[in-house]
């Protein structure tokens, strides 16, 4: 297999323990309707003998109720279905100690959120927001969340399904993985700048360019993995690393804030840190006047 684009379901089988995936079931949740948010695959599996929640995209199906949902797009039903899987993971492990919360594995291959009129009338923004808040809550409750980009991780859909993880891993660009807001061809068209020149600029500044390597340099991806076979072991290793940091109370080294620090270390996103530093100083100088 050259790549895993559109193969979210197959990717689950390559990562979790053989034949352990139970689709639709997470704690008390048991979804049996095959037409409920079919673009999102949720369920429970074993990962090296440990119970874990799996959330993936299914690009090979369409949502019969929402025609804009196909090819791995996350629609309203999909977003809420994914959120249900997360909240039920939290609920199921409510009484378990910090080091024993089940990992949540996000297998990412999605090109976007549902772009339709009905979606806007009822509020697609709430569905994608709901899933992100659920993931952030699970992360802070102690669940290790690892995202594995196996195909497309595009813009708002990557924010929805991926960027709230503790750690993000991506198959390398040889597997046609795509991480971007917009391809460089579109950026060229809109900014009226030559593609060749933009590609040259991207070498020294990863802030706009498309691809996992640029996200790595910005700290937006923790690790790039160069073989499909290695995914399983690397995910298991990252779950363990994340757990150690959570047990040590180092939540600021994980998730979106941790990736901000990583962006400085890797040299791709330095200005952010400067802004934060100066703002903190300016606030400290007047804090007494406001906090009484």
């Amino acid at each position: 297999m050259d790549n895993l684009i559109g193969q979210g379901r197959a990717a689950i089988g390559m990562i979790v323990d053989p034949d352990s995936f139970k689709e639709g079931v997470v704690g008390d949740l048991n979804i049996t309707d095959p037409e409920f948010g079919p673009g999102a695959v949720i369920g429970t599996a074993m990962l090296k003998g440990e119970t874990c929640t799996v959330i993936a995209n299914d690009a090979m199906t369409v949502n019969p109720k929402f025609p804009v949902v196909y090819a791995g797009i996350i629609g309203m039903e999909e977003g809420y279905k994914m959120a249900l899987a997360v909240y039920n993971s939290i609920k199921a492990d409510k009484d378990r100690p910090l080091g024993k919360k089940r990992p949540i594995l996000l297998i990412v291959d999605t090109p976007g959120n549902g772009p339709g009129k009905q979606e806007e009338i009822f509020g697609m923004n709430k569905a994608t927001g709901a899933y992100q808040l659920a993931l952030a809550e699970a992360r802070k409750e102690g669940h290790p969340i690892v995202a594995m980009v196996v195909g497309r991780a595009i813009s708002g859909a990557f924010l929805c399904h991926g960027l709230q993880a503790d750690h993000i891993l991506s198959l390398s660009a040889e597997f046609s993985t795509q991480i971007h807001v917009m391809p460089i061809t579109s950026i060229s068209r809109i900014t009226k700048l030559d593609i060749e020149w933009l590609q040259e600029l991207a070498k020294s500044n990863p802030v706009f360019a498309a691809g996992p390597n640029f996200f790595f340099k910005l700290g937006g991806v923790e690790e790039i993995i160069d073989s499909i076979e290695a995914m399983r072991d690397r995910i298991v290793a990252h779950v363990a690393q994340v757990r150690v940091l959570k047990l040590a109370g180092k939540n600021d080294e994980l998730g979106p804030w941790g990736r901000g620090t990583l962006g400085v270390e890797r040299g791709g996103r330095k200005t952010r840190a400067k802004v934060i530093e100066v703002m903190n100083e300016e606030f400290a100088a007047v804090a007494d006047r406001y906090l009484k």
Partner: protein
Amino acid sequence: MAKQLRELNFEFKAETPKDFPAGFLHYGVVGSGDMEVIIEKKAMSGAVKFKVVTPVTGFDEVWRRVLERFVNETGISNASLEINDCNATPVVVSLRLRQALAEIG
């Protein structure tokens, strides 16, 4: 083609100088066809210096004339002006600079 923001620098002295009466002033929004300016008091032996950051090429002489006239007409002196421009016309530039000064009053 590489496209870069350009920086233009000018210095003028008003015929009848009046000191800039405030320490620091910011005015304007960098909307399309608009600009913002920071004016700061600075001991410059009566001179005024400008730094203009703009995406526009080929209008350096127009900038010179507009800014020089502003200095002579208002008598502003001992000040440093920094302008961020986004394709503002000379009329808009003159208007915004005068509005900025009016903020002090």
